[in-house]
């Protein structure tokens, strides 16, 4: 079975293109959104989702969240006795999602289409693919998140011949895409983004200000308290969408602090982040060569776009109110499902063709000659300009600088700066040329080919000798090789995820433990409940367990509502 997955910074979803169009599958707790949090329990079993999220507070040392932000880097996280790479953590989330999909359909999941931020780099995309491999599935295609949202939105609304902008502010990433739909063609004109800007950054700002106002040091708080603070601030942030102010209470070493924030203050604190959001919007609009008036709609997706700041920002920049008909949490996952339907050539999607763009410029380093004949080096010459429609193959000729030169070094760079020193070097190619020829007749044709899966191929052809050179792009530091993936796959297989049947009970236990940490007043009571529930679990009598579970759930609900 081919599924569509939205592997988000804070939440993940899974679904497929079924008989009734795109369908999402619920997890063991009956929710469509599974928090992207991983936790290891004392037996070395992994917990994923809400239970793990609750354990962030009760067991901060063995739980981790927001690891999507480290994809494509070498950063490792220690959980219990073992350290994990971000790919492995993502693989655990994928395994939990796959189990949910298999439980819902009774079929085995073998392939998937996974959504990634449009502005993800090559290393980050490769890491996502590696995560799929580590979870035991084949990643058939990576689809850009705003494109996925547009697919879901556009096909649902059946708007023909319209141009729109998708504004995707997720938990950890910000993406903008400008698209056009006509006659079943979904054409992406431009994408831009910021890989380190999302709802979590707004939370960071709140946290910093709150701690400063209360006169507390972040290092002075234990992990559980800061986990509690973060979750309460998250609640406050959400509350600010509906009301003018919100209050946060926090107990530190027996002392209760109270902090309140209103809308105006939040807007002021968030201003630097809003300023950062301007750049991708402006760039996407310019690359699409569109005026603000030429857009038919602006679609907001991603959970963080619910903040009232975001529609206000869009209004300031585009001079009109954005439109929102989609569920911002599900749009991307639904789009990933549509993309999986496209990939499997579903009959009902036969009339739909999707074309996407390459988000970065790719090019080489050149020397330029100024008006007085002086050479100036270090300039970046793009060969594939950013936001070219992929697949794309382009060729450009380059000439040696000096007569009698016998070699030419062609560097491959990715980036947007006009000077190569601020771009990322992907590799280099050295070609031999005929030193006897004058420079202007000694061309080397450099061809860059970029395919739908984002793989770059570089070829050089020396015109005087007809010799061909090809560049195998060097291993990026943050990317696992096929060999490393195999060994890690074996190691990761040892870590079991609790079976779905147990997960409801585990989630409840985790919740009770979190409440134990948070509430100082009723601690003994909660502890007694936990002990009692554990004893009931020992009996393995499903009927009794179910009864107790419902009872405990109600009791905890009452406790939390006080």
């Amino acid at each position: 079975m081919l599924v569509g997955i939205d592997l988000g910074t804070t939440h993940s979803l899974i679904g497929r293109y079924g008989d009734n169009g795109p369908t999402l599958f619920p997890n063991a707790l009956g929710q469509l959104l599974t928090p992207s949090v991983v936790s290891l329990d004392a037996d070395g079993h992994a917990l994923v989702g809400q239970a793990a999220r609750d354990r962030l507070i009760s067991h901060p040392g063995s739980s981790v969240a927001s690891f999507k932000r480290w994809m494509g880097s070498d950063r490792e996280t220690r959980l219990g006795h073992r350290s994990f790479r971000p790919e492995e953590l993502s693989a655990l989330v994928l395994r939990a999602l796959i189990a949910d999909a298999e439980a819902a359909t009774g079929e085995t999941v073998t392939e998937a289409v996974i959504s990634v931020p449009a502005y993800f780099s090559d290393a980050q995309r490769k890491a996502t693919q590696a995560a799929g491999t580590l979870a035991g599935i084949k990643v058939e295609r990576l689809i850009n998140e705003p494109t996925a949202a547009a697919l879901a939105y556009g096909l649902q609304e059946r708007r023909d011949g319209s141009r729109f902008l998708v504004f995707d502010l997720g938990g950890g990433t910000f993406d903008v895409s400008v698209l056009e739909m006509f006659e079943g063609v979904v054409e992406v004109h431009a994408s831009a983004g910021d890989n380190f800007l999302g709802g979590e950054d707004f939370l960071d700002v709140l946290e910093k200000t709150c701690l400063a106002d209360l006169g507390l040091q972040r290092s002075a708080l234990d992990a559980a308290t800061s986990g509690v603070l973060r979750q309460r601030l998250e609640t406050a942030k959400r509350a600010l969408t509906g009301q003018a102010s919100a209050t946060v209470q926090l107990a530190v070493r027996g002392e209760t602090h109270e902090w309140s924030i209103d809308e105006a203050r939040f807007a002021q604190l968030a201003d630097p982040l809003l300023q950062r959001m301007r750049a991708p919007l402006e760039r996407a609009m310019r690359d699409a060569r569109l005026q603000a008036e030429q857009l038919d709609e602006i679609v907001l997706v991603g959970g963080a776009s619910r903040m009232p700041l975001v529609p206000r920002l869009v209004t300031r920049m585009f001079g009109r109110l954005p439109l929102r008909h989609v569920n911002p949490d599900q749009a991307i996952a639904l789009g990933a499902c549509v993309a999986s339907g496209l990939k499997s050539r579903d009959q009902r999607l036969d009339e739909v063709v999707l074309t996407d763009v390459c988000p970065y410029s790719l090019g080489t380093q050149v020397v330029r000659r100024d008006g007085q004949g002086r050479m100036q080096g270090g300039f970046f010459e793009p060969i594939i300009h950013r936001n070219s429609v992929v697949p794309v193959s382009r060729e450009q000729s380059f000439f040696p600088v000096n007569p009698g030169q016998s070699k030419l070094r062609l560097d491959v760079f990715q980036g947007e700066s006009p000077m190569v020193e601020r771009n990322i070097k992907l590799g280099e190619l050295e070609v031999e040329i005929d030193p006897a020829r004058p420079p202007q007749e000694n061309a080397v044709n450099l061809r860059f080919t970029y395919d739908v899966n984002g793989v770059l191929q570089v070829e050089a052809n020396v015109s005087s000798t007809g010799k061909q050179y090809e560049l195998v792009l060097e291993q990026n530091p943050g990317v696992l090789s096929a060999e490393q993936i195999r060994t890690r796959l074996a190691a990761l297989a040892e870590i079991k995820i609790h079976p779905r049947s147990k997960q409801e009970n585990l989630a409840l236990l985790a919740r009770a433990e979190r409440i134990y940490e948070e509430h100082l007043a009723m601690r003994d009571q909660v502890q007694a409940w936990i002990a009692q529930f554990r004893a009931v679990l020992e009996t393995q009598d499903e009927m009794v367990i179910r009864e107790h579970r419902l009872e405990l759930g109600r009791a905890l609900d009452t406790l939390e509502s006080i």
Binding site: G161, F182, E183, G184, V185, Q275, R278, A279, L281, E282, R283, M285, R286, Q291, A292, E293, Q294, R312, T315, R316, M317, F318, G319, R320, L321, D350, E351, V353, L354, T355, S361, G363, R368, D370, Q372, R374, Q376, F379, F380, E381, P382, H385, R386, V389, V390, P391, V392, S393, G415, E416, S417, P418, D451, V452
Partner: protein, 468 residues
């Protein structure tokens, strides 16, 4: 006709028809199944759309880019107080009355403090520039200002301006090299404003008080209005020429770009030429003329002074004293003139002159002519003295040519000069001891020829390039 043939439509097709044809063809050439076919199709589609838009009357939605108006002079910026930004209500389109030029004036004034962070805050505080369309227009205007007026602005702030208008990527400006040069130019012109010369000396990498003092003097000289009398008076002293030229090269690179105001371009041109051109150019001749005049004046003053002292001692007017006075003045002037002429000749020989016309050939053949005639004189005449008089200059000039531009030579140069002067007495002593003066003279002339040949060989590629 391409691109319409690729899409299978008529050249008269409208946008809708082009899109429909593209959509139909696309379903047979999906990007993931037929990459080459897709790329061909997409290029044809783009080209067809472009032609369609070019033929159609300008759509009212896309305002034509306004032609750049002639720019007001941006240099004298009055230190205006920054007014609080006008806050338009969120739903209304941005006011059309935004004065881009006044805004850019203020930005330049704000950048004068060289605090990029503050400049960014100031830029971001402009509520009107949140509007996408207005910001694009102001950004284009800023580029026009950069390329036409180049107001003084430190490079950190320049980068901040480019980043704010999203002009800091490879595709934003066609001529990146030109942009980089304007950036440097604007930075220099900011640095050159009076009051920042001290910092400038630091950025030029000058150490030592003396060097800084000279550079500051040179900068002052460069900013003066150009008057022949003043510059010639200053150019009489060779160290002025050297230090001014050095300052220009440090600031503007090699070969130097035109320095921005407040440097006077005529001053820059004059001092560069003064340092590099030989006696056969207008400026070179003028400077030598000034120096000769100076030498004559010096001789005359000394002669008059000495003569007057003599007459005061004697207590009466004496024609013999007048004669002595004239003789002294003449001899002093002659010595000074000789030194000037000789140093000019050496300088000219060291430099590069293209092999064209009389001057070029003379420049190339002067050393062998001198050395050859020295050999002839030594062989033919009985007096080796005359031969020596030709050999020593030949050797001097040949060595000057060979050692020009070599790092080793700088420390050795005074010793070499002394050595060449001493070669005559030392060699004649040796020659009288072994009693073969002719061989010594021959070998020294031969050495001069050899040095010249090495140098000529080294200069060959340059000569060819100069001719090409």
């Amino acid at each position: 006709m391409w691109p319409y043939s690729e899409l299978g439509i008529e050249a008269t097709a409208d946008e809708r028809a082009i899109k429909r044809a593209y959509a139909i063809k696309l379903k047979q050439n999906r990007p993931d199944e037929n990459p080459q076919g897709f790329q061909r199709l997409h290029e044809a589609y783009q080209a067809a759309l472009q032609r369609c838009h070019a033929n159609a009357p300008a759509a009212p939605a896309t305002p034509a880019p306004t032609a750049p108006r002639p720019l007001p002079p941006l240099a004298p910026v009055a230190a205006r107080s920054i007014e609080p930004p006008v806050r338009p209500s969120a739903a209304v389109a941005p006011p059309i009355t935004f004065d881009a030029d006044a805004f850019l004036h203020e930005a330049v004034a704000c950048a004068d403090a060289n605090e990029p962070g503050r400049l960014r805050q100031w830029l971001e505080s402009h509520e009107a520039l949140w509007s996408l369309s207005l910001k694009t227009r102001v950004g284009q205007r800023w580029l026009a200002v950069v390329f036409q007026a180049a107001p003084p602005m430190p490079d950190g702030c320049f980068d901040e301006m480019l980043a704010f208008f999203r002009l800091d990527h490879a595709g934003a400006v066609r001529d990146q090299l030109m942009l980089q040069q304007q950036r440097k130019r604007m930075h220099l012109s900011w640095h050159l404003t009076p009051g920042r010369h001290g910092e400038l000396a630091g950025t030029m990498g000058l150490k030592g008080i003396e060097q800084r003092r000279r550079a500051t003097q040179a900068l002052k000289r460069l900013q003066q209005p150009f008057r022949w009398r003043t510059v010639l008076t200053q150019a009489v002293w060779p160290q002025h020429v050297r230090s001014t030229n050095e300052t220009i090269v440090r600031l503007a690179g090699q070969p130097p770009v035109a320095l921005p105001p407040p440097v006077n371009p005529r001053q820059q041109e004059f001092w560069l030429k003064a340092a590099s051109s030989g006696p056969f150019t207008r400026i070179g001749a003028a400077i030598i003329g000034a120096r000769i005049a100076g030498a004559l004046l010096l001789g005359l003053l000394l002669g008059v002074g000495l003569g007057a002292m003599d007459m005061v001692d004697a207590g009466r007017f004496d024609w013999a004293s007048v004669g002595a006075m004239v003789a002294i003045a003449g001899s002093i002037s002659t010595v000074v003139l000789g030194v000037i002429a000789w140093s000019q000749l050496t300088l000219w020989q060291r430099g590069f002159v293209p092999l064209r016309g009389m001057v070029g050939w003379l420049h190339l053949t002067l050393v062998p002519v001198l050395a050859g005639s020295a050999l002839l004189v030594v062989d033919a005449s009985d007096s080796p003295m005359a031969g020596w008089l030709l050999t020593v200059p030949a050797l001097w000039l040949a060595l000057a040519r060979v050692l020009h531009g070599r790092q080793v030579a700088t420390s050795l140069r005074p010793w070499l000069r002394l050595g060449i002067f001493l070669i005559y007495p030392v060699a004649s002593l040796v020659a009288s001891a072994v009693q073969v003066p002719v061989i010594m003279g021959n070998s020294l002339a031969g050495a001069a020829l050899l040095a010249w040949a090495i140098d000529a060989w080294r200069r060959l590629p340059r000569r060819q390039r100069a001719l090409a």
